[in-house]
Every structure is written in structure tokens, then in C-alpha cells.
């Protein structure tokens, strides 16, 4: 029987207190690992949200606010960028590409982003990865929609289905535009970014939904005349429109009905649950928007970035703000840094408390164990053996605590994964422990061993002073 099995059997004899201690350590280990994993994943998923974009331009506001609203769909940009400004800045020297984005609408709680085809060719996330399609393709006309992977998964949408985009944010928007159903023509592959939770529509669709402000009709009439190609497309379910006519009436401007009467609707088939590509006529994607929320820019050379940025920030037409996403992301993360550090600090404190709990238990039971130590001494155990026995008990408890804690950690990740993904867009990977996490566990083991030295030292001195005589 070696020392470890002796330590193990002795611990087993005091299993209730040992198990409680072990469980406390396990919980604290789980907490520390989880917080660290979430922190790491949040940080990387954060940094990977946007990539390859040199500038984000929006109406003048805070840098971070612009980043949050344009990239993370958090908050709401109060002001917009005039379309003319966009058209003007687009022409600047060195501009390689631009992506206009228009936000502010939602579909069942998911953000609706109006853009044009440049989004699918130029937008990059992660490590300069392009958006890729799981099914289907990019939109070709104003009645088509491309879903982020989460949207399709959570709402169980399939290619060819028709959905209705509502005005405003939130799940329970009152402004349902039931008369504007759109066909799903593409579903993106997962990116682990807010793109997954975004409904992408052509700019023109956004425009039509709102009627581009409340001054209404001229634009619509103009479009009806200018774009006869769209008129060829068939109307959709008439009954449906009739059904909602009465209450749509007071919610929306008349041009909605103009829209309808001009027959600018694509396919009307419902329940088309296949992954067959949807055929359609190409149409105008942009329309004539008066304003957009923001736009993303890429440049031929970084030199232009700074120059154009300066120009935009001094733009005379309207107050605009251009930010470099990388810089602002770092700035934003820097703000979260303190929270992050406090979380880390707390979880470390919890670990320390749990180890102190172990120390307390070991010290408290030590007095009752003086007889055990005396017996060991009588059969020839040296004080050093006693010392090692007590230390190895602490090591065993900490080790088992770490193992159990790691197991709980994986269970916790497994359970939290869908929630975190859905609520915060943090994609937790159920990957093995990183070297950093192993290092954390190593540090806990070390701390546990150091804690074990205290009762061990005490037992050492007991065994010296008590000898074989038992004084309890």
C-alpha cells in the first residue's frame, strides 16, 4: 500500500467533508474555466465580426455607437447618411468598393439589413473570409431576401418561402407589412457574427416598406414609370392583401397600395420548402433611397483610407463620421476590458475561497486524526511521510476537483452554447482545453498543493511532538 492509496483511503473515510470540499473546488474551477472561455470566445468573435473593411461611415455620432449600430446591430442610429453623400464619397479616389447598409427594421426580432449586391462580394469577416451561401444565391431583385444562418435555422425557413418584413425593431412590431412578402432566395453559411442573425434585403425593399418617409408618392410613381421590367412579375396572393387591407390602411401610406397595384411582386408560391434555387428576373436592388444608415468602404491602399477619412469627417454636405473598425473594435474591447478583468478577478477569488475551504476542512479534521498519525508513526512512518500524506490528500482533492470542474465546464458549455449563440452571438466551441486553460488548471493545482502544505506542516509538528503517544 503506497502513500497515495493510504491518502485516498483516509480521505474516503471522511468522504462527506471531502466531497463537499471537492465539489466546492469543482464549482469554482467550472466557473473560472467558463468565464475564461466565454471571455476568450467573446473577444475573438468580437474581433472577427468585421474584417477587411477600412472605413465605416455614418451620420455623426460616437465612434463606438456607429460601430455598434452598423456592425453589431446594437442600438439605433438616429441619423442617416444622405444618399447623395454616399454617391459622392463613393467617387473618391482610391475607393475600391462600398457597401451601403440600411438598418432599423426587423423580422421576428432579427435585424433587417438593406444593402446591394456589393455586400455579398465585398463583405468580409473573421480572417478576411467571404460570405458563403449554404443554399441559394444572392438577391436579384427587390422582392428577394437572403437570410443569415441562424435566422433560417431558428425560424425554420427554407428557400422559396415567403416572409414579411416589419417596420421597426422588436418581435412584436405593430407595423406588419403583410402586403410586402419577400421570397427567400439564399441562406448564408454560419459566420459566428451578427450576419447570422440578419435578414438581408435589397435597399429598394427597405425603401418600399417605409415608403421612404412620409412625403410619399412621387418616387413611387416615378419608379412605376421608370422600371417597367418589374411589372412583368406577377402579383402575389390577392386575398391575403385584401384581408389585411382594412387595418393596413391606417397604418401605412397609400403608396403601399400603389406598390401593389403596380404589381411589383415576385413569386407568390407559398410553402415551397425545398433547397431548389429560386429562379427570378434580375431587377433593381437599390431603387432611389433618400438615405441609408451607414456604409462600409474598402480602399486600394491604406494611404487613401486616412485621406478619405479626413475628408469625410470634414464633409460639408452633412455631419458625417468615418471610423476604422479595427481601431474602434479595440477601443470598445478596451472599455469592456475592465468588466472582463473584474470577472476574471471574481472567478479567481472564488477559486481561492474554495481552496481556503479545503484548507479549513483539512485543518479542522487534523486534530481528530492525530491518533491516525500516531499509529503511522508507531509502525515507523517518519514525520516526512506524515507530511507527504497530508500534502497528497490536498493534491488528490484539488486534482479531483479540477477534473470534476472541467467535466462540469464542458457540460455547462454544452448547455450554454445555444443560449449564448442566440442571445449574444458568442459562438462557444466545445473544443479541448486550450494551453491557457490547462495553465489555469495547473495554477489551481499548484495553489491547492501550497494550501496542502499548511495542514501537512502542522501534522509534521504534531507527529514530532506527539510521537506515538496519543493525547486526545
Amino acid at each position: 500500500m503506497n502513500l497515495a492509496s493510504l491518502a485516498f483511503k483516509s480521505s474516503w473515510n471522511r468522504k462527506s467533508s471531502v466531497f463537499l470540499t471537492l465539489f466546492t473546488i469543482a464549482i469554482s474551477v467550472m466557473l473560472l474555466l467558463s468565464i475564461e472561455r466565454v471571455r476568450q470566445e467573446a473577444k475573438s468573435s468580437f474581433a472577427n465580426t468585421i474584417s477587411g473593411t477600412d472605413l465605416i461611415v455614418g451620420a455623426r455620432t460616437g465612434d463606438i455607437q456607429l460601430l455598434l449600430s452598423s456592425v453589431f446591430r446594437i442600438g439605433h442610429a438616429n441619423n442617416a447618411v444622405q444618399w447623395q453623400s454616399y454617391e459622392y464619397i463613393k467617387q473618391q479616389r482610391g475607393v475600391a468598393w462600398t457597401i451601403p447598409i440600411s438598418l432599423g427594421d426587423s423580422h421576428k426580432g432579427y435585424a433587417v439589413l438593406g444593402t446591394d449586391s456589393s455586400y455579398f462580394t465585398h463583405f468580409r469577416y473573421g480572417k478576411k473570409q467571404m460570405l458563403a451561401f449554404e443554399h441559394g444565391r444572392a438577391f436579384h431583385n427587390g422582392r428577394e431576401v437572403v437570410l443569415g444562418s441562424d435566422v433560417a435555422k431558428k425560424l425554420n425557413y427554407h428557400l422559396g418561402e415567403q416572409i414579411v418584413i416589419s417596420h421597426g425593431m422588436g418581435n412584436t412590431s405593430f407595423h406588419h407589412h403583410d402586403d410586402n412578402p419577400m421570397t427567400i432566395v439564399g441562406i448564408l453559411k454560419p459566420t459566428g457574427t451578427p450576419v447570422d442573425r440578419t435578414v438581408h434585403v435589397p435597399l429598394i425593399a427597405i425603401d418600399e416598406m417605409h415608403g421612404s418617409g412620409h412625403n410619399a408618392s412621387p418616387r413611387m410613381i416615378g419608379k412605376a414609370i421608370n422600371k417597367p421590367s418589374n411589372e412583368a412579375v406577377h402579383s402575389h396572393d390577392e386575398h391575403k392583401h385584401e384581408d389585411h387591407h382594412s387595418h393596413d390602411d391606417h397604418e401605412h401610406d397609400d403608396h403601399e397600395h400603389d406598390d401593389y397595384s403596380h404589381g411589383e411582386h415576385s413569386h407568390g408560391e407559398h410553402g415551397h420548402k425545398t433547397h431548389q434555387p429560386v429562379e427570378s428576373e434580375p431587377g433593381d436592388l437599390i431603387g432611389e433611397p433618400k438615405q441609408i444608415t451607414a456604409f462600409l468602404m474598402g480602399f486600394d491602399s491604406p494611404l487613401y483610407t486616412l485621406q478619405v477619412r479626413r475628408n469625410i469627417n470634414q464633409y460639408k454636405g452633412e455631419p458625417l463620421l468615418a471610423i476604422m473598425p479595427g481601431v474602434t473594435l479595440r477601443e470598445l474591447w478596451g472599455m469592456l476590458d475592465i468588466v472582463e478583468k473584474i470577472l476574471l478577478l471574481f472567478s479567481i477569488v472564488v477559486v481561492i475561497i474554495s481552496l481556503l475551504g479545503m484548507l479549513t476542512t483539512l485543518l479542522a479534521t487534523l486534530n481528530q486524526r492525530r491518533r491516525e498519525l500516531a499509529i503511522l508513526r508507531s509502525v515507523g512512518a517518519r514525520p516526512w511521510h506524515i507530511f507527504s500524506l497530508l500534502t497528497s490528500e490536498a493534491v488528490i482533492i484539488t486534482l479531483l476537483g479540477c477534473l470534476l470542474g472541467t467535466t462540469l465546464f464542458f457540460v455547462a458549455i454544452l448547455l450554454a452554447q445555444p443560449v449564448l449563440q442566440a442571445q449574444f452571438g458568442i459562438s462557444l466551441s466545445l473544443s479541448m482545453l486550450s494551453s491557457y486553460e490547462v495553465m489555469l488548471l495547473g495554477a489551481i493545482m499548484l495553489a491547492g498543493t501550497v494550501m496542502g502544505l499548511f495542514p501537512a506542516l502542522r501534522a509534521y509538528y504534531y507527529s514530532l511532538s506527539d510521537g506515538m503517544s496519543i493525547k486526545i
Partner: protein, 225 residues
């Protein structure tokens, strides 16, 4: 076997010595009844004999080894190799079964292990059988055994690996009169078999006549006078 000469020992912070023994000789195979009331320095003497405490003045020679010349670690090893101990009660580790408790006697001694003619476990079992702990009792947990049975297990642990000296510190004080004599008898049987010397410490005079020799600590301890 044991030779004590001019042994003087005083505990720290005690000005007067606890122990002052001019001479005590015990020969091999002898069964000694060491009598002493509490406070007579029994525990101190046993601590010195077992090598727990270092000798300050004088000599103790056990099996031709000068205990004084041994370091603390060597004394621990000496105890592990040559001395078996039985305490008053609660001799056993509660988390080990009776057989494991007996095997513990050889845990720290290669020398005692090397004397075994069979496997450690077999020896432990046969020792227990000889001491009246049959296999049903062996399968029990230590806490389920009676005190008398526990003392037998402790005796088996003391004898395993044939140590030359058995120190029994009031091993029968928790037993009733009948079991006392029976226990001492089995103790003697085993001691005879292994030619072990028994140093039996007690304040129960009635047991004294069973032994070869009675030593009164009060008489030999100059410090107690």
C-alpha cells in the same frame, strides 16, 4: 537486548529531569512487566526506546545499536524494522480493513518484509487466524470489531515481520479481566514463536505474575523520587 545506562531525560521547559535511570537490562525473549503510575515517566521511556525522542544523556542500546548515534530518520527506520507497538486502544486505522491494518506493520520496513516466508497478505491472514480473528471478522470493518478483537488485530500488526521487540503500552486496560489474560496468553504464544522480547507496560499489578520479571519504574527512575 535492551541496555540502559545513566539515562537522563528532561522535557524542554521542565527544569527537573523526567527520567533518570542508572541501569536497566532486558535480555532477548524476556517478558517484562513494566509497572509505573501515571507521571512516572512511562511514556517518556517508551518514546526514547522507540526512537521517537532523541537521547539527551546516557545510553540506550537495543540489539547492539546505540540509539544515541542514530539520526531521527534512522531511529524511525529502526523502530519500523525492530519494534512492534500495541497501544491502549484505538490502535487501528478506521479506513483500512483488519488485514490491511496488519499489513501496515511492514509498510515502512523492507527488513520486516524480507523476513516474510509468504506473501504479506497471507502472513497477515494467518497471524490474524492465530490470534483468533477468523475470516468473518477479517472481512468486517475495523469499527465493527470489539475492543478485544481490535487489540488482537493490533497485536498481529506488532508481530508481523517478526520484530525483536514488542512494546505494549497498557494494551489490556480496556479489556475485562477474562479477556486480559487470554490476550496476554496469545501475546506470549506469538512472542515465543518469534522469540520476541515483550515490554508490557501497565499499572494493573494483578497481571504481573504472568511475566518473567516485574520492573517498577518508580524504583529505577531516580527522577521520580
Amino acid at each position: 537486548m535492551i541496555e540502559i545506562n545513566n539515562l537522563v531525560f528532561s522535557w524542554p521547559k521542565h527544569p527537573a529531569p523526567t527520567l533518570d535511570i542508572a541501569a536497566l537490562t532486558i535480555s532477548q525473549g524476556e517478558r517484562i512487566f513494566l509497572h509505573g503510575p501515571s507521571g512516572s515517566g512511562k511514556s517518556t521511556l517508551l518514546g526514547l526506546l522507540a526512537g521517537i525522542n532523541a537521547i539527551q544523556a546516557g545510553d540506550i542500546k537495543i540489539l547492539d545499536t546505540q540509539m544515541r548515534q542514530l539520526s531521527a530518520a534512522k531511529r524511525d527506520q529502526f523502530r519500523a524494522d525492530h519494534i512492534g507497538t500495541i497501544f491502549q486502544n484505538f490502535n487501528l486505522l478506521p479506513f483500512l480493513d483488519p488485514i490491511e491494518n496488519v499489513m501496515l506493520g511492514c509498510q515502512y520496513s523492507k527488513m520486516r518484509k524480507s523476513k516474510l516466508t509468504q506473501s504479506l497478505q497471507q502472513i497477515a491472514i494467518s497471524l490474524l487466524e492465530n490470534l483468533g480473528i477468523d475470516h468473518t471478522l477479517q472481512a468486517k470493518s475495523v469499527s465493527e470489531l470489539s475492543i478485544g478483537q481490535q487489540q488482537r488485530v493490533a497485536a498481529a500488526r506488532a508481530f508481523i515481520g517478526q520484530p525483536e521487540l514488542i512494546i505494549a503500552d497498557e494494551p489490556t486496560s480496556a479489556l475485562d479481566a477474562d479477556s486480559r489474560e487470554a490476550f496476554i496468553e496469545t501475546l506470549f504464544n506469538q512472542a515465543e514463536k518469534y522469540q520476541a522480547t515483550i515490554l508490557f507496560v501497565s499499572h494493573d499489578h494483578s497481571l504481573a505474575q504472568l511475566f518473567d520479571r516485574k520492573v517498577s519504574l518508580n524504583e529505577i527512575n531516580g527522577a521520580a523520587k
